[in-house]
Each structure stands twice: as structure tokens, then as C-alpha cells.
Amino acid sequence: MTGGKALGTFRSFYVPAMLVGPATLIVLIPFIASLVVLGVYSVGFYPGGAGFDLGVWKTFLSDSYSWTVIFTSIRLAVIVTFFCLLIGYPVACALVRLDSMLMSIIAYTVIFSPLLMSVVVRSYGWLLLLSDSGFLNSLLGAWPLNLGPYRLIYNEIGVIIALVHILLPFAVLPLITVLLQQPQQLREAAADLGASPFAIFWKVTFPLSLPGVIVAAEIVFALAVSAFVTPAVLGGGRVLNLSRLVYENIGNIEWGLAAVQALILLIAAVGVLLILERFNRRTFGEKS
């Protein structure tokens, strides 16, 4: 039956291909094209460049300042990821357990509405809240505390606070997903076997949610390491990360250097994601 076989191939290959095809092309073509362009630019081939030359790579990688910036980018992203998970996990737990419809709607709105606002607006909002005469310092400086004012902007603290706020929803979403998938019966079973609420969390709920924690960490880290607007606004030029350098060098028409820095940013992000994926597999791949 050639007709049946043809229809089988059609269903099993062409239909899925047509469904995912457009999205794949839109994502893949610009990604590959820009990677090629970056690669070519980074070795000296660009308008006004001198032709093949690994000098930019050598200069950048041998400069200790470059490494400071690379480590600042990664350190910022790691700290932001850590706080997003620390704050996001209890939030996700609470959201999953909400019984009342009204409470759920309010909670989800509060947590996810910032996504509807521009990052620029939110970053400037934080600038107002954290500045020397801003809301937070006024509050701390008022009676009875009479503290401060503390320097909370134009340094890493401000950047971290604002990034944690902006990226928190991206941590909460995968955590909610993984917590909702956990059958209630597993917690009941643990309780039945003698586990206190504390033991239930550490022996059942948390280990089973680790895949979600890893996904949340991956998303938040990738967004934080490449963040540009927030570090620019709240860092005020004093917090230099890789995306900031790329931006400056494009402004200075240093195409080669910008390309090298962009590629290093990509390598750093992919490297950390690969490590996290490896951890994910080791914990859950082999066993089940």
C-alpha cells in the first residue's frame, strides 16, 4: 500500500516540519547569520578592517581589565540568579497552594504584571526609589531609625536589586510549573510515613522540584549575564559588564573588539548553561 505509506510519511514528517518550520527559520537564520558575522568581524574582516588578524583576541584576552569585566558580568549574574531563586521559590510554593480564586488572581497579577512594563521604565523607577534622597533612604533616615543615607545606586547593589526584581517572574514561572506537576499524594505519603512538614519539604518537595530550579537558574542567568539597560541605568557607568563594553565599542566603531566581547559573552553564558544541564542530567537522567 504505497498510498498508506506515503500518508504515513506525510503525517510523521511533513506535518510536524510544517508546524515547527516557520518558527525554526525565524529563530535560526538570524542567529546563525549574526554568529557568522561576529566570527568574521572578530578576526579582522569588517568594513575598514585590515583583513585576517587575531590581534584583537590576543589583546583583549591578555588584558587584565577584560578579565575583570568578564568576572563582574558572571558574578553579577550568579548573585542575581541566587536571589531570584531564594525569593522566587517560596513565592512559587505559596502560589501553588492558594485555594481562593480571588487571591490567586491578585497574587499572579502582582508577580507577573511587571512583565508588561518596559525594562527602561522599571529601571528608572528603581533609580528613583534607591537614590540618595529617594523613597528608601527617606524611610531609613526618618525617625526613629535615622539611618543613612546609603549609597544604593551607581554601584552593584542597585544593579542587583533592580535585576532581581525584573527577572523574578522568569524564576517563578518554571518553579510553579514543576511544583504543580507534583502529585499531592507524594506529600501525603511522606507525612503518612512519619515526615514532619519540614522533612516533607526537604525529602520530597524540594528534590522533586530540582529540574524546575535548574531551568529557572538557566533562564535567569542567561538574562542577567547579558542584561544591558538595567546595569547601564543603575550602574551609571560605574558597573561595567560585557554587554556594556560591547555597546561602547560599537559606539566607538571598534567592530572587531565588540565582536570579540560579544562572542566571549556568548561562550560564558553557554558554558554555565552546559554545566547546569550536566547537573540536571546527572541528578535525574540516569535514575529514571
Partner: protein
């Protein structure tokens, strides 16, 4: 206070409401130490809720539950001397077979060496030695079932609670695990409370069965009691097949009474107090009815229908205003529909039902 001698689990006037709907409507029940007790009933009858109240997953709205003489109301689930085998098993997917079974013992800080012996023995008992480091997902349904049983039993609870744990398995495996459960229960002399909607399963395993309907306990007794001496229409109909017949008491003798139904007279053994003229319902099991060629002893009734099942044969007999079903052993000489046959039954077969109008 209920004492240790009277029972392992004592429920006194236990009720449970969820919002406005009352799910369990006042249950009094004493489960004896070391017995295999089943709660049998259709879905939604409140049997699982009753089990969950014993386990501590639900608190009764009113009434009290005590285990080994100790009041359990307000005692959290993790402090109760019970363990539950869940309907959907609820094995921990991130732990292997050994760690699943050792879960409860580790929480109780049992010494490492003792955990090793007890878990080892337990896996032996459920015939899963050699599967210690296997993941739960790699086990078959029957093996997962045995891990679930081992995980609960290894803690040596005063009472093991089982919530239809065999429901999802195929018939052959069900029968096999029923025997295994019965064996484990006898070896450990542990009190088992087993919830099921399957009357065959309940009858095959239990020392005693409590039949539940619409939140109430209709009757408690051994399988034979329930089958031969049902007290309510529901029990008569749910435990096996029967003819439920409504009639009127016409005469009361010294040891027997006569009931008129369908214009026929049914004699029954006199067991409960009745009055002449009283409306009654009785049960007459199909296999208690004897059928012979026309002209024999008993009343003569026309045969409507005959179905041959191999080991048994079922006949429908015409009575004025209805039919009754009779069941006999499969016979080479099947009686043919349309002919008249002689029908009789012993007076013990006519069982008067008291409660539960349906």
C-alpha cells in the same frame, strides 16, 4: 473509653462533611486486632474518606476515632500508628526501591544496621530481593504495587490501611496479589483495613467486611454472613446477585412465617418480630431455587428465558407481575423456554430484609 481488648480501631459516631455535603453519616465500628477487615461499597459511599480519617489525612467533623485505646482526633498523620497504601501508590520517583522502603525508618532515626535488616527482610517478603537499586519507573505495575506495600508494612504499624491498591492491575495479577496480601497479613498478624468496591476481592481476602452505602455502614460480618443473611436490600443486592421481592406477611407460625408476593406464598424461617399484614421485602438467591421438570414438587411456573454459561445456567421464571431469576449448575439437558417447570426453595433461602429502603 474503648479498650485495647475490644478492638484495634474503634470508630464512634464518626461523621464527615465537606462544606454542605455530608460524606460519612455517623459510623460506629470496631475493628479487631489482627483481622483483615474490608470496607466495601460503591464509589462515593464514603469508604475512602473513612479510611483517610483513620490515617489522619482528614479530621472527622464529629465523633471519635481511637487506635489501641488511644484517641486519635487531633493527632497529626505523621504521629499516628498507621500506614497507608495509596490507591495511586504515590511512590517517590526520585528514590530507588531500597530508599522508598527505608523512607519511614530513616525518618524515625532507626539505627542503620536495623534499617538494613528490616528493609532486606521486607523486600524478601514481597519477593523483590535484587531490585534494591532499581528505579521506580523501571518496575512493572505489580512490582510497584509490592514496593508500596513494603514501604508501608516495614514500619510495623498497628494498623495497615489500604485504599483499593489493586484496582489498576489486570485480573490475573489482582488475584495473585490478593493471595500475597493475605499471606503477608497472616505472617505478621497485623490489622489490615482494606477499602474496595469489588465484592469478590473483599470476600476473597477478608475476615470481616463492612458494607457501606451513602455514608452509612449497612452491615458488618464475615463474607458468608453477608451473603447468606443480608440485613438490608442494599447488602443483598451488592454482595452477589439476588431476587429482591416485596410482599405481605399473611401468617405467622411457630418457626415459620408466610409471605404473599406475586400471588404466590413464600415460606420463611421466623427470625425477627413481624406482624400479620406487614409489608416486607425479602431476598431469594438465584442458586437457592431448585428447578425440575414439570409435575415435580413445588409450584409450577412458566420459563421465560434460559441462558447457558458453562458451569452454570440461568433461568428466568414468569410470576404474575414480574420475573424471578434462578441459577443452576450447567446441565446437559437444558430446559427450553416456554415450557412449565416445577420450582421450589427451602424456607431458609427466604431472607427477610429490615433496613435501607431503596
Amino acid at each position: 473509653m474503648a479498650s485495647y481488648e475490644t478492638g484495634d480501631v474503634v470508630l464512634t459516631a464518626v461523621e464527615k462533611c465537606f462544606g454542605d455535603s455530608s460524606v460519612v453519616k455517623g459510623i460506629d465500628l470496631t475493628i479487631r486486632k489482627g483481622e483483615f477487615f474490608s470496607l466495601l461499597g460503591p464509589s462515593g459511599c464514603g469508604k475512602t474518606t473513612t479510611l483517610r480519617m483513620i490515617a489522619g489525612l482528614e479530621e472527622p467533623t464529629s465523633g471519635s476515632i481511637s487506635i489501641r485505646g488511644e484517641r486519635m482526633n487531633g493527632v497529626p498523620i505523621n504521629k499516628r500508628p498507621t500506614n497507608l497504601v495509596f490507591q495511586k501508590l504515590a511512590l517517590f520517583p526520585h528514590l530507588n526501591v531500597w530508599d522508598n522502603v527505608a523512607f519511614g525508618l530513616k525518618l524515625k532515626r532507626v539505627p542503620e544496621a536495623e534499617i538494613r535488616t528490616r528493609v532486606g527482610e521486607m523486600l524478601d517478603m514481597v519477593r523483590l530481593s535484587g531490585f534494591e537499586s532499581r528505579s521506580i519507573a523501571s518496575l512493572s505495575g505489580g512490582q510497584q504495587q509490592r514496593v508500596a506495600i513494603a514501604r508501608a508494612v516495614v514500619n510495623k504499624p498497628a494498623v495497615l490501611l489500604l485504599d483499593e491498591p489493586l484496582g489498576a492491575l489486570d485480573l490475573k495479577l489482582q488475584t495473585h496479589l490478593q493471595e500475597e496480601l493475605r499471606r503477608i497479613q497472616r505472617e505478621l498478624a497485623m490489622t489490615f483495613v482494606y477499602v474496595t468496591h469489588n465484592q469478590t476481592e473483599a470476600m476473597a481476602m477478608s475476615d470481616r467486611i463492612g458494607v457501606m452505602n451513602a455514608g452509612q455502614l449497612e452491615q458488618v460480618g464475615a463474607a458468608a454472613d453477608l451473603y447468606l443473611r443480608p440485613q438490608t436490600e442494599f447488602v443483598a443486592g451488592f454482595v452477589g446477585q439476588t431476587n429482591l421481592i416485596g410482599g405481605k406477611v399473611t401468617a405467622i407460625g411457630e418457626t415459620t412465617i408466610s409471605i404473599e408476593a406475586f400471588g404466590l406464598t413464600f415460606d420463611a424461617v421466623r427470625r425477627s418480630a413481624v406482624e400479620t399484614g406487614q409489608a416486607v421485602t425479602f431476598s431469594l438467591r438465584p442458586e437457592q431455587i431448585r428447578i425440575a421438570q414439570a409435575g415435580g414438587a413445588g409450584i409450577q411456573l412458566p420459563l421465560v428465558d434460559a441462558t447457558f454459561f458453562g458451569a452454570t445456567a440461568t433461568y428466568r421464571l414468569q410470576v404474575p407481575g414480574g420475573t424471578i431469576v434462578a441459577q443452576t449448575q450447567g446441565d446437559l439437558q437444558m430446559l427450553a423456554p416456554g415450557q412449565t417447570v416445577s420450582v421450589s426453595w427451602p424456607p431458609e433461602a427466604v431472607v427477610l430484609l429490615t433496613g435501607g429502603q431503596s
